[in-house]
Subunit: 413 residues, 2 copies
């Protein structure tokens, strides 16, 4: 048994979350390192979906809006997310997509500071964040979108006209973690609100929105939260803003009394005003069920496992692939690293990812040269992590070049 194998076995033996693995459907023969794109299916989610479909919908029909709690589901699900992001009960609303929620929160931040006209955004953020900011800036005259570049200190770009700073807590490519408390404090000192995108954070990386006194946050339901494909997203607003804030997607389900059918919009109290139209109940129920798995999770243990797992993968890849043209593209320092690990490969990254998939290891390729591996601490084992590194090493060692064309010899694929 190699040292790496011994380490993996030992880490698994003392993993306090090991029992959670059985709660997920694990496709046979698959090592799934893409839970940061779409999480595994919790077994209970399939049962819940069946019961919502064949029971609540088919039998209960319209009566289920009250009897089955469909109406309150956006806030019920939000309450399950709150502890994972350092928020409190009643502060998180679930529904729509991350993109739509970014729009709501950016617009709300601008309305809170009407004298300021600039959205300051990370140029290399996940594209939908930029696209939504562009859409808002094109819609509302005088609103300007400015970018800061990778490596810049965002606060250095804030001026007296900056209403809101939009950025991701964990970078979707490199997994670099931003210092939420420090950046928020710097922004507040200059009178600027901060909207955090927690898509690559929630369910894997430590996060304390209230501790940092952040202003707004959004995040994704289908990554580490395992809510299913395109699961609804969430939005959070700091309670110090909630009364004053208004968001423009003021649909009837965020109304104080939607069934009064009044002509004028009166927002609901609290974060419920972030709800817009009728929620997509089946998808929302799947997420709600998946969120129940977090109720008894020791979050400190979860964050620690994420750091240990990504660290172990880096160690294993660097040892097993020594001499190969592969370079770590994520922070080596664990406190600065989210729950995925990226490596740059000089050439043939796409083919390597395909060969890995053929071996049963699913990760992501991000052009031009990045291999990205996500580590969902709730269900992965260290033995799987080591196996993935071993497969990667085997594939890299059988690469060959032929007239600038990259190939992998027959053995592995």
């Amino acid at each position: 048994m190699s040292d790496l194998s011994k380490t993996a076995a030992a880490m698994d033996a003392r993993d306090p979350l090991a029992a959670k693995r059985d709660l997920f459907h694990l496709p046979e023969g698959l090592i799934y390192l893409d839970g940061n794109s779409l999480g595994l299916m919790p077994k209970a989610a399939a049962d819940r979906i069946a019961s919502v479909t064949r029971g609540e919908w088919a039998e209960g029909l319209i009566r289920s809006w009250s009897k089955a709690g469909w109406f309150t589901l956006p806030m019920t699900a939000g309450d399950r997310i709150a502890p994972l992001i350092g928020a409190a009960t009643g502060q998180v609303s679930v529904g729509d997509s991350t993109s739509v929620n970014i729009f709501k929160c950016l617009a709300a931040a601008l309305q809170l500071r009407p004298e300021r006209k600039v959205i300051l955004a990370e140029g290399d953020n996940f594209p939908t964040d930029s696209y939504i900011a562009q859409g808002l800036a094109a819609l509302v005259p005088d609103i300007e979108l400015r970018y800061f570049e990778k490596g810049d200190n965002p606060a250095a770009h804030i001026d007296d006209d900056t209403a809101v700073l939009l950025l991701s807590h964990v970078d979707y490519r490199s997994a670099r973690v931003r210092d939420m408390a420090a950046i928020t404090a710097d922004a507040h000192e200059k009178g600027t609100a901060v909207l955090w995108d927690l898509s690559h954070t929630t369910g894997a990386v430590a996060c304390d929105l209230l501790g940092a006194d952040a202003d707004f946050a959004v995040g994704c339901g289908y990554k580490y939260l395992n809510g299913g494909p395109g699961a609804p997203a969430f939005a959070w607003v700091n309670p110090r803003h909630v009364s004053a804030m208004r968001q423009p997607l003021s649909g009837w389900m965020g109304h104080a009394a939607p069934f009064d059918f009044t002509r004028g919009y009166t927002p609901a109290e609290g974060a419920r005003k972030l709800v817009c139209g009728t929620p997509q109940v089946i998808s929302l129920s799947a997420l709600d069920e998946a969120l129940k798995l977090w109720a008894d999770v020791d979050l400190a243990a979860l964050w620690a496992k994420s750091r240990a797992m990504t660290g172990f993968f880096i160690e294993a890849v660097e040892e097993l692939c020594a001499g190969q043209p592969i370079t770590l593209a994520s922070p080596r320092e664990e406190t600065q690293r989210g729950s995925h690990v990226s490596f740059d490969l000089e050439m043939g990254g796409f083919e390597v990812m395909q060969a890995l998939a053929a071996s049963g290891v699913i990760g992501d390729f991000r052009a031009p040269s990045t291999l990205r591996f996500g580590f969902a601490p709730l269900y992965l084992s260290f033995v799987e992590v080591l196996k993935a590194a071993e497969y990667l090493s085997a594939i890299l060692s059988t690469r060959e070049w032929d007239d600038d064309r990259f190939r992998i010899r027959g053995a592995v694929t």
Copy 2:
């Protein structure tokens, strides 16, 4: 056998859509006259949801975005809706809620006519339409929202500053149908675009968007389309606008090349640019499956059945409830009537609806005094319609008043 019974039996015997009924799950003992709020579950939808969950999600995982066609589903589902609304392939996109789609289309209409600043809306429209218009007007300086009142001719309120007219094709209370072709032509003569809300139209009432040369339309997936609770909505844009139009909810899934991860938003071609964030795949798949039931439906027969059914219900109620203080609140003329029927009751409407529900007839009560019954022509029978009228008559005949308190005698409830 009464004349009404004979008529019902005869109508059912020659119903060209009768075979469709078996494709739905019909809760035992229920006469469901609320398919205009939430349609019955198509049996195939339950199977599709199970296969998406336990197959595409649990086993296929991230690979299903391409292999299972998740990425193209917003347009695939849209193509199934197109024939029902008089639109063509590639023109309809499915996703988000009706509310969110109203926002996209209103903003797009305003951007197409930047020199005009007024949204003209129906004051008594379904509230979310007004709420969303209010949200947009509060967000964008100089945009003004004006209302016209019930009974007004909308065109009479259009002036040189009116960018877009927002109204429902079928009124959610009375079922009154607006003349889409005439109103659209009047609006166009004054340089105003029209956004039609087809929520109470689609799947029950004749509609020809291209024939009327309408500009934009939105509609609901969970009513007559039977897509499940909170099913995603749809949006349509006239092809003569589609290149020039831009909508502000410019999320990555409406980008021309979402996986290029470029910083700048380049909209996809055609109606795909109406897509915003990641679609809620489970709910969307349920709708997609429900939409397959329409492929071989003779739409002329469907519209005719809707008119015959609502007409028969009016006839039966007026005959069986003669002498009771109940008044038709929907158009008597069938070409002006959508697929639901409302009656006003002087007092006790809520209690009557509850007593009906206890008898197995599900309809809606709309304060202060309206009993609303929806007739989904795809699955209801005329015998059921008559039974509902008979129960209503029985309940009304056992009403009594006691010191201004309305009661129903024991027998029926």
